[in-house]
């Protein structure tokens, strides 16, 4: 796939943060985008009695092998929208993994060992219309930097996986995410 995914048949991706940030919806969009391109995946999440606050994650394991282990074992990339989400995911990250964090929500990112991108995710979400779409902004950046799916498939998946009345807002959000990192992916791959 690309530099972030050493195993040719398997990629492990995480959205991390706290409950209520739309992390699961985010991964459903990515799952759908991959499916549109004919790729198979498995999506799992932290499943707790409470649905708001606290550590929460949503994982996607992309594998072309049927019946492969569907849970994360060694993450290739993570986008984190809270410090606790990032901290709790660090032990699962492989060296050199792609790490995307928000400049305000994750004030203390790891300075070494990862391909770190500190981005104004929440800021762009607010400017675009709502802090609640930070998940989709982060997803746009993650999908592009991680070279997971084409932009067209991603935009189509946003339309399919979000409520019709919020489709335009979410589309704007995913485009903001893509714009934040456009061009960065190539330079990273060469590094």
């Amino acid at each position: 796939m690309n530099v972030h995914v050493p195993h040719p048949h398997r990629a492990e991706i995480r959205l991390a943060g706290s409950g209520g940030q739309g992390l699961i919806t985010g991964m459903h969009i990515l799952f759908r985008a991959l499916a549109l391109e004919g790729k198979r995946a498995a999506q799992s999440q932290s499943y707790e009695p409470t649905s708001r606050g606290g550590f929460c994650y949503s994982d996607l394991v992309v594998s072309d092998e049927l019946g492969d282990y569907p849970l994360a074992t060694r993450l290739d990339m993570v986008a984190a929208l809270s410090q606790v989400g990032l901290d709790r995911s660090l032990p699962l990250l492989r060296p050199g993994a792609l790490v995307i964090v928000d400049e305000r929500l994750t004030p203390d990112p790891p300075r070494e060992g990862f391909d770190l991108h500190v981005l104004p995710i929440l800021g762009r979400a607010v400017e675009t219309g709502s802090p609640r779409i930070a998940n989709v902004v982060a997803l746009g950046a993650l999908a592009h930097l991680g070279r997971l799916v084409g932009d067209d498939a991603l935009e189509q998946a946003v339309r399919l996986e979000t409520p019709a009345k919020y489709a335009d807002l979410n589309l704007a959000a995913v485009r903001e995410g893509l714009a934040l990192v456009r061009g960065l992916g190539a330079s990273t791959a060469e590094a």
Partner: protein
């Protein structure tokens, strides 16, 4: 007509498979982590002229399910550990009265209330021996969302064919996993419906010893007017305590499953032909084991996997064959050692090692690989 590829959660796949299999009645009680099955069926069943009801508890749920099945309808309930415990009474009734029904048990951490949102495989023995007395039982243990779909349909078919309760047991991890599933066209799904009694209303024997050991079932309204009881009964359905008749009745119950093992058992093997180390696992752990076996093979170790898809009756002969060349057998499971008891019984304790986890976390592939390296060293 091509099958469609859908992204489904395990519990949702279970509900849709039930509809495809012909389920037209569901009674249940809310419990984590199985509630999505009930939620889905509360929407689906009215669309196909079926009935959904939320009962006052799990005892009543299985009672209502059996009541509907006695009315001639295909039925299901779904629950998890604590609710499954409450269902044991009527599970025995279904076995004794030979009433087809499907019981889904999404396994969570126990004992007692335990860890409601965490996965477990702690009900492997309860599924087999939970209700009192010698009784037949079929338990299927899917390991992926696709298999939840396929095995739920198979559960209905086995329940109907053999007039027996069939349990579908899977862990919370798979219940909430989203995976791509191939959904066959409805008309291509092979479904089985129980044999109903026809004609010969006079002298009809509802529990006759038929050649296939599965007597046809009387449907209320068709004129047979039979008696159904949880008491040990004779071929005519009425209670008996005569030793010879009682023994025969119970023997037939057990034999109808025992003598049809080849139709009920299903296993999956992976690289077992030359395996020196054989991993035995079910559910999510089996998928970790498969990954571990692959990783070990790429490092030069001959590892294989034996996965009973039919958990009970345990596929004994298939295990013996899969373990033929194995010097070591590792039973990996999310409990303190239940599947291991059966594997040890079949293969002897000498070459069987155990890997257990009871902290509510799935066993990752690396732990299984490490365990095998330790055993082989």
């Amino acid at each position: 007509m091509t099958p469609s590829l859908a992204a489904l959660h395990g519990n949702r796949a279970c509900a849709l498979a039930a509809i495809a299999a012909g389920c037209r009645f569901f009674a249940g009680y809310p419990i984590t982590p199985s509630s999505e099955i009930a939620e889905q069926l509360s929407r689906e069943l009215p669309r196909v002229d079926g009935v959904f009801i939320q009962m006052e508890d799990e005892i009543g749920s299985l009672a209502a399910v059996i009541g509907a099945s006695l009315g001639g309808v295909k039925v299901m309930t779904a629950t998890s550990g604590p609710g499954f415990s409450l269902m044991q009474e009527n599970l025995g009734y279904a076995a004794m009265t030979e009433t087809p029904c499907v019981i889904v048990n999404v396994m969570r951490g126990g004992p007692s209330t335990g860890m409601p949102t965490r996965p477990s495989q702690g009900d492997i023995m309860q599924a087999r021996w939970g209700t009192h007395g010698d009784h037949p039982i079929v338990v299927l243990a899917p390991a992926s969302v696709q298999e939840i779909y396929d095995e739920t349909i198979r559960a209905f078919n086995l329940a109907e064919e053999f007039r027996t309760p069939v349990i579908v047991a899977y862990d919370e991890t798979i219940a909430h996993l989203l995976e791509s599933v191939v959904i066959p066209q409805r008309r291509t799904v092979a479904t089985v419906t129980r044999k109903f009694a026809r004609g010969d209303e006079q002298g009809f024997q509802p529990y006759a010893e038929t050649e296939d050991l599965v007597p046809p079932m009387a449907r209320p309204g068709d004129g047979h007017r039979v008696h159904v009881t949880g008491l040990t009964h004779m071929a005519d359905g009425f209670p008996t305590q005569k030793p010879d008749l009682a023994a025969r009745a119970t023997r037939r119950l057990l034999d109808k499953i025992e003598q049809n093992r080849d139709r009920i058992e299903r296993t999956e093997t992976f690289e077992v032909e030359d395996a020196e180390v054989l991993i035995v696992a079910v559910g999510i752990v089996a998928r970790a084991a498969r990954r571990a076996a692959q990783d070990l093979r790429s490092a030069g170790a001959r590892a294989g996997l034996f996965r009973p898809v039919t958990l009970w009756p345990f596929p004994e002969q298939a295990l013996i064959e899969a373990a033929a060349k194995a010097r070591h057998v590792l039973v990996a499971e999310m409990n303190a050692g239940q599947l291991a008891l059966e594997v040890e019984r079949i293969l002897g304790r000498g070459r069987v090692a155990r890997l257990n986890r009871i902290d509510g976390e799935p066993i990752p592939p690396a732990d299984i690989a490490r365990s095998i390296r330790e055993i082989a060293a």
